[in-house]
Structures are given as C-alpha cells and as structure tokens.
Amino acid sequence: MADNGTSSGKGQFDAAVRENRLIGERFYKLKLEFFGEGAEAFEGFRPGQFAQVDISGTALPPADSIPDELRDSAGRDVLLRRPFSFTDVTSDRGRTWAELLYCVVGPSTLRMTTLQAGDSLSVIGPLGNGFWVPEGKKTALLVAGGMGSPPVQCLAKMLAKDYPEITPTAFAGAKRAGDLPFEGRMDEVSREIGFVLKEFGRHGIESIVATDDGSAGFKGLVTDCMVQWLTGNSAPRKEMIIYACGPEAMLAKAAAIARERGIDCQVSMERRMACGTGICQSCAVECRVEGSSETVYKLCCKDGPVFDAREVVFSDRE
C-alpha cells in the first residue's frame, strides 16, 4: 500500500510531560502525553513529520549544572518555538504519547533538561510531510546521521509494523561514539551489521554504526558504510529505497549514491524556521523544476521536511 506521508488536523495543543530521562552524554528522551483533540491530532503523526515546541517559559538549570561550552550562551532568551520530530508515537483510548529525543546544544535544549513529569508544554503539530512508501519496495536503507536519528527511528517502527514485505537495515553515523543518540555503550558496539542498536533491534531491524574517528563501529562516513553494504547486496535497485535524515552534507552524499545506482531516495531536510506552518517563509529549500534549468524555493516546513532527493539542490550554508 502506498501512502503520501501526510496527516490532517494540525493545531496548538498542551502536552503533559511524563518523563525526561538522560540517555547518554548529552541526550535526553522526553515523553509527552496529549489529550482530547491533541491526542487525536497526534495519533495521525507520520514518521518524518514534526512539531513546534514552546520552550520560552521553561527554566534554566542551576548554574553549576550548565556544561562549560554552553555557559556563555545559556542565559540567551528564547523567543521562537523549536522544531522537533518524534522517535515514537503511540495511542490508546483517546490518549497519545510522543517520545522526543533531544541533544543539549543551546539555550532551548538546556532549558528542556529541567522539564519534569507533570509540567505542561505548548506544542503545535503535526506539521509537514513525513516519509512515504512507494509501491514495490522490498529493501529499505535507513540512514541516520547524528541527531537526524529521531524520524528514522519512528520510520523503522512503521515499516516493521505496516510493511512486512520490506526489509529495512539501519545505518547510524556520527563524528564519534559520544555523538550517537542511542541508548547503551556506543564504544562497545560491534563493527559488523547485526542487532547492534536496540532502537532498531526491537523492531527486528538490523543496524550498523559508523563513526568518523572509529570510536564506535565502522570507521568512516556512514554513507561509505552504506556503499560497502550496497556493493555486497545484489537485490534489484528498483526494489530498494534509501531514507535519510542528518547533516546536509550526508544527505547530499546519500542522494548522489542513490542517483548513481538508480535507487529511490527520500531525505528529511533541516532549516532554520520561525513558524513551522508555512507563513514566515524562512525555511526555504532550493528545489529543481522538472524539465527546466530553473530552481524554486520550497518550504522545509510545509513542502517537506521530507523531499524526494532528486528534487533538492543541496546547500553548504545551513
């Protein structure tokens, strides 16, 4: 069954924090619960869609627990909402839970570390278009670079659940072991493909880890790791699809690899955005126009964040 990765019924909802748990050096999992209309709206959340979370009213942690590298910028005022995708969304009898994986990188995510069970957050969503599954696919390569992993994790679950005819394999890359946003000791994982990451293993999906410095798994770029795997796999390219989310340079490489081999590829893009609903026009993604040398700007929030890789003119500025 093909679907188009969209859902309807976005809105502004209050979510209750159920859990906020440290899972690695700087990674946290925040569990949110939606009720009523919010539960209904987010029940339709598609992997790759996102939500805009208002952090402006959340307190900073005490000064002595602020990491050195953030001390200078920690007090910066937060005005705009922050866009996040979810790693997992589940629903049961009128309630919906969404799991948000975040990395502490600046004033907003630093504030998020102080959220506690019972706190309330304003969330706008579900926004944008998620990944979609074209007809005839039997092999899916899930490529996650660094903090690009949440939508890929969410997609893994959907493929395992709804698409038994597709065999996914996950490739997770980062600069070093400590930058891999997964639970468990990353420096101890296998260099080989297997049930390496439990985030994928729990859905029966094999994975492999790649780090630039070799501190975990395959030493090198995650895209090189993927090329190696493709070289040893003779499945028809037409039946394959690459789903990627991560830094733009990684997406550009994944797109090039896919193009050279005639493999379909979808990329989840990231842009600085203010509203997330198509109004501010900040999050422009340069896209090709079929049959023309001209390009147009589409909006990451509304036309994406997931795009067909053939369409995107990758940039080195963002």
Binding site: G11, V78, R272, C280, S282, A284
Partner: protein, 312 residues
C-alpha cells in the same frame, strides 16, 4: 463581555471592529492562521507583500533568533500579483473582516500597477504601501528613507487606489521618522503604519561571517518594542494627531498590555507580527485582553484610550 465596551475604531475611512490587525508578512496571504483562531474576531487583516511579478526570495539562512527578537531577510518571496488575484483574493473575500493588501515593488510604476489591478476587488478595503522592507536590494528602503521619494510614491499610488484607503508603512531606519511621516501625509496617505523592522546583523563568531545569507536582516520582536512605542508616540505628537491621520502601531507586540502601550502612545490600531509565529492565536488573545483592560478601567469607548499618554 462585548457590548459594554465599544472597541471599534475608524481607521483611515475604514471601520475596524476592534483595533487588532495582523502585521504584514507574519500571517500569510489569507487564511493560513485560520486553523489556529477565528480570523473574524480580528479588526482587520494585512496580507504579506505582493509584487507585480512572483519573487523567489533570498537564499538561506533567512532568519536568525536573537535575544527577545529575530532577524529576517526573506526577500519578499511571494506568488506575484496574478496568482494572488486568482488564488487568494477569493479566500480573502470570505474572511468577513477588512482586508488590506501590502504592496511592494522596485519602481513607482510597479507599485502603482499592483494597486491599480487590485483597486477594483470588492474584497479589498485598502492598501499598505511597503516602502520600508530592508531586505530587498534596489527595493523599498530607498523609497522609505527619502522624504521626496516617499511623497512621490505615495501620491502616485494614491492616484491608482481608486478611492480606497492607503496606509504607508514607515521604516525606523531614518534620522527623523516624523519627516517621512509628514511626507506621506502631505501626499495623501490615509493612515500610517509603524514601525517596520530595524536593519541589523548577527555574526557567526566561529566563521566570522554574517549568519544571514543576505548579511543583514530586519530585527523584530519584543527587543524593538520600546523603540517602536517611542516612535509611534513621536509621530503621533509631532505629525499625525494634528493631521487627523490614524496610526497602526507595531513592533514586538506579544500581549494585550503591549498593544495598549501603543494605543496610549497614539496608535488607533495595532499590528501583531512576530508573536504570531510563536502563538498563532496571539491576535485574538490581544483582542480579549484589550476588552478586559477597558472594562477594568471603565473605558466605554476605546477612542478615549488612543493618544491618552499623560504629560508626566
């Protein structure tokens, strides 16, 4: 609640049910915010800037957040006049509140042509002349900073308006905003809106480069509000009050209290801009807050609030 307090205002010949209006560029072309609030509860709607031809806009990054504000350099990305007429005007016609189309261009002729084409549309109550966008090269800012050009373009566009209301949006990036305000009024502006964004820059200190691809952008949000309040108060006192020309005040309004400050300073209407990005229903909340302020202070008619700043 409503009924006891009259919060309707006369604005340059157009009656607004209340003083709260969406600011151009922050609420889309028509009904984009309709999913988050009932637009009919607003006093009016100002569209994003429309130009004669479609505009692609600037390369990214187009925005960056700063303390209590943000810089944008969108570059007037818009679908252009023809698509606007075909796709958006019919939607605007159904909004049920006064609609003002924000118009931009690179030459006086382009501005006039857009207004002339739209003047006959019954759905449109008036126009806002964007002569103050800081992000378009050869564009609006040069018009908005020179009194002679403000006069020329205002007169030319007014002549093309077909009798509809014309509001001129002023840039704060000038030595004396009263000079450009006066020029606009002398050339026939029915109302003024102020302020547009302040030209600003954020530098990435690791790369020693501006963050925005356009290098500079327009600063908006709460960071500019006290300056905007001051400029509204100045223009009201020095020019607009005596001329009987109403002001739409804007710049960092996030709450009803912020809006009330602008009204006390002399604004007859207020524009909600950046706040809509964060709270898409902000404008409606401001309407409710203004109503309850009036009730609390025994103000039966909101006109008594406009320009009520005490000498202090």
């Amino acid at each position: 609640m409503a009924g006891r307090v009259d919060i309707s205002v006369e604005f340059g010949g157009v009656r607004l049910g209340n003083p709260v209006v969406t600011a151009s560029g922050t609420c889309g072309y028509a009904d984009e915010l309709g999913e988050f609030m009932d637009l009919r509860r607003l006093g009016g709607f100002v569209t994003k800037s429309i130009t004669a031809r479609p505009r692609k806009g600037n390369p990214t990054p187009r925005i960056v957040e700063t303390d209590s504000g943000m810089l944008n350099a969108i570059g007037l990305a818009n679908i252009g006049l023809e698509r606007f007429v075909e796709e958006k005007v019919p939607v605007l016609a159904g909004l049920g509140i006064p609609v003002f189309v924000n118009v931009a261009g690179e030459t006086i002729e382009q501005y006039a042509a857009v207004v002339e084409r739209l003047a006959g549309e019954g759905a449109i109550a008036g126009f806002e002349l964007n002569i103050s966008c800081p992000n378009v090269k050869k564009g609006g800012i040069t018009f908005g900073t020179e009194a002679g050009l403000v006069k020329e373009i205002t007169a030319a566009v007014k002549a093309a308006c077909g009798g509809k209301m014309l509001m001129v949006k002023l840039t704060p990036n000038v030595t004396d905003i009263s000079v450009t305000a006066r020029a606009a009024i002398e050339a026939g502006a029915d109302a003024l809106s102020l302020v547009n964004t302040f030209t600003a820059m954020v530098i990435d200190i690791e790369q020693r480069k501006p963050v925005l691809a356009n290098r500079t952008g327009g600063l908006s949000g709460p960071a500019i509000r006290p300056i905007a309040v001051y400029l509204v108060s100045k223009v009201y006192r020095e020019v607009a009050k005596d001329a009987g020309v109403p002001i739409m005040g804007m710049g960092g309004i996030m709450t009803a209290s912020d809006a009330i400050e602008f009204m006390i300073a002399g604004a007859s209407a207020v524009g909600i801009g950046t706040a809509s990005f964060v709270r898409p229903d902000c404008a409606v909340r401001v309407v409710e807050g203004i109503e309850s302020y009036c009730e609390r202070h025994g103000i039966g008619n909101i006109k008594d609030l406009i320009g009520s700043l005490e000498a202090g």
